[in-house]
Symmetry: C2
Subunit: 393 residues, 2 copies
């Protein structure tokens, strides 16, 4: 039985009604909100109708279970506080449509709190064993609500954790959330790997002083140190990075941050991502050496916070080959292999079983915003690529 493109689009639009923002196609459906729980109840009914057994685990991950063994497909149905209609939802509804239409047994999942109200990809991190439940329960959101209290809201629905051994692999479809496919007018991206991420807070100390009486040549200005550091690493990364590597200084905090005082201290975030662990390490070494060098040049000091990081995850070669076959079948010469710069539930699930991912374009690369969208033709092409990939297995 072939996928039903209209049914798939209709379900996507129905899911969009839960937490509809009233601004474009945007949705407001953060993990454990009323809209999120209502959407999961609605999904559970759809799973039931499709002949799957609905199953909520203790942290709100919703499964639609086919008889074991089966392939698992899906993503997440929670959203950012101001989210788009496709981020996560697309992967869940596509999986549902494939479970309905495929000959082989396919289970579906919507992980909980991928968007990180409480942590980072919280639901799949707990299920995969990366994040112990007791530790997760003490995580709090920005308003101070504990994860433990939030998940208690779904207690009447939940059963035990699902045993991952019943799944033969995991495929996640997702919007790209970046501009590559859209800019190149390509319909599909087959993900090669999810990049690794490194994140570190750095602090430069100089000497706070009077902005009127301190001559330029005697200043030990922490903000000037930051700008010198930024220029130097941009220069020194050149021989190390690829066009896929990214790095960002997104958070900056001067002290005392007053217009007539030479800043004595600056704390800033340094984040970098790449699909190669060695490259991440070479970048770290440049960052540390340069920070030391710059802070010494102003007679100051550099402090490094703890290194946070998630390792790069390679997609399973067999699943990837099937997805490439599917892409080639429906979008001949109009697709590419690409890394994912964003994190996804698949990063966690990779600890349990082989995983593969498939991207469709985001218009103008926009995501995490009410304006997020993808042409419906591209949504359907993605669905058909998945269908063709399954036929290949």
């Amino acid at each position: 039985m072939a996928v039903n493109a209209q049914r798939f689009l209709d379900d996507l639009h129905k899911l969009r009604e839960f937490g509809a923002a009233g601004v474009g196609k945007g949705v407001v459906r953060p993990a454990f909100s009323d809209a999120d729980i209502a959407a999961r109840r609605w999904l559970a009914d759809r799973f039931q109708e499709a002949g799957l057994q609905p199953h909520f685990d203790p942290v709100g991950n919703l499964f639609g279970l086919a008889p074991a063994p089966s392939l698992l497909m899906g993503s997440h149905s929670d959203s950012q506080p101001e989210g788009g209609w496709l981020d996560g939802a697309l992967g869940v509804i596509a999986a549902l449509e494939l479970a309905r239409s495929s000959q082989r047994p396919i289970s579906v999942v919507s992980f909980q709190d991928e968007e990180g109200r409480f942590g980072v990809t919280t639901g799949s991190a707990i299920w995969s064993g990366k994040l112990p439940l007791a530790q997760a329960d003490d995580l709090t959101d920005h308003a101070g609500t504990r994860f433990g209290d939030a998940r208690a809201r779904m207690q009447s629905l939940t059963q035990d954790f699902v045993n991952p051994a019943q799944f033969t692999g995991f495929i996640e479809m997702h919007i790209e959330q970046g501009p590559i496919l859209d800019a190149n007018a390509e319909a599909i991206g087959v993900v090669s790997d999810i990049v690794g991420i490194r994140d570190m807070v750095i602090e430069f100390s100089g000497q706070q002083n009077h902005a009127g009486t301190t001559p330029m040549h005697l200043r030990r200005d922490a903000f000037q140190a930051l700008t010198i550091f930024n220029g130097l690493i941009n220069e020194r990364f050149r021989n190390v990075v690829t066009p896929q590597t990214v790095w960002t200084i997104g958070h900056v905090e001067l002290s005392p941050n007053a217009s007539s005082i030479v800043p004595g201290r600056v704390r800033f975030s340094m984040q970098w991502r790449d699909q190669d662990t060695d490259r991440l390490a070479r970048m770290e070494s440049i960052i540390r050496t340069t920070a030391q060098e710059v802070s010494e040049s102003i007679g100051g000091d550099a402090q490094f916070g703890p290194m946070l990081g998630i390792e790069p995850v390679e997609m399973d070669p067999t699943l990837r080959r099937s997805l490439e076959h599917g892409a080639q079948t429906v979008a001949l010469g109009n697709w590419r292999v690409m890394p994912s710069g964003a994190l996804h539930d698949a990063s966690n699930v990779a600890a349990l079983m082989p995983v593969g991912m498939l991207f469709v374009p985001s218009i103008n690369g926009i995501s995490h915003d009410f304006a997020e969208d993808t042409a419906e033709a591209d949504l359907v092409t993605g669905l058909k690529a998945l269908e063709a990939a399954l036929a290949d297995r």
Copy 2:
């Protein structure tokens, strides 16, 4: 009659007891605090003993009036919230000692709120006519107290404003608050001018985006724009500035200021000071042109806030010559002519009469801090330079 160095130092130490911080020689004596009012009452008694007529004006400026016409000397006795013992106090006590010892009539003044609890050099700004009293009354401190309510605390002491026509000129002695004299082991600085200041908030807008999925070459990163701007103006100022010119980016505010988001906006302060109005204008032109250029290069936008500024003030040539004579008499070859990078009450008084200023060193250039200090030998040298300057007139 010669100045009495011991009496002068004793009075400085006595004044220090009002609001003594208990940390080094630090004082806590903000305008209109109990300690400030008690110190002013004590000063009024000392003025009386010296044969001067104590006179509080409606905003708390305290004069010790000699028979008209007279020279006026002094500074301020209020302090920063965490201040040093000499900032302001030195000029008042030195003036008192000279009024006691000089043959010619010398009036003394301690202006109120030079340190800007409510405004900028508030007391002398009102007396000089720059700041209307009704407008000043509505100024508030950080806690929300109105200037009008604060000055009411001294109402029982106050009389009318003093007529400035009775003074032939104004001389203010002050600590340098910067490192020049200390670094060069010089005893005295004769001030040539008080520099002008320009202050402007600038905002760059780029495009906020995902720090994982946005390739470097497609970013419109507002923080990167700021660092490029900073590098360019540092370069372009080279042909315009003198070693006395200063400029500072002291306040920076990224938006949304999150480690995994490419910053879409940055607001920052740009402040620059110089003794030459034309140079200040040339620097402004470089700043505006460069900001436009940089914001266009990231396909973004630059917004400029209102230009705030105080014009440079030249010291009176005759008074300056006398002070140079005094410096040369007591510190042969061991003094310099220099601009003041900090504002002082003399900036305002210059609107009413000829003004001159004399600096003594600050150890390590520290000021506005409990650690502020000056060697007692340097304090006495400064006093004797004033004495010699008066003998020259």
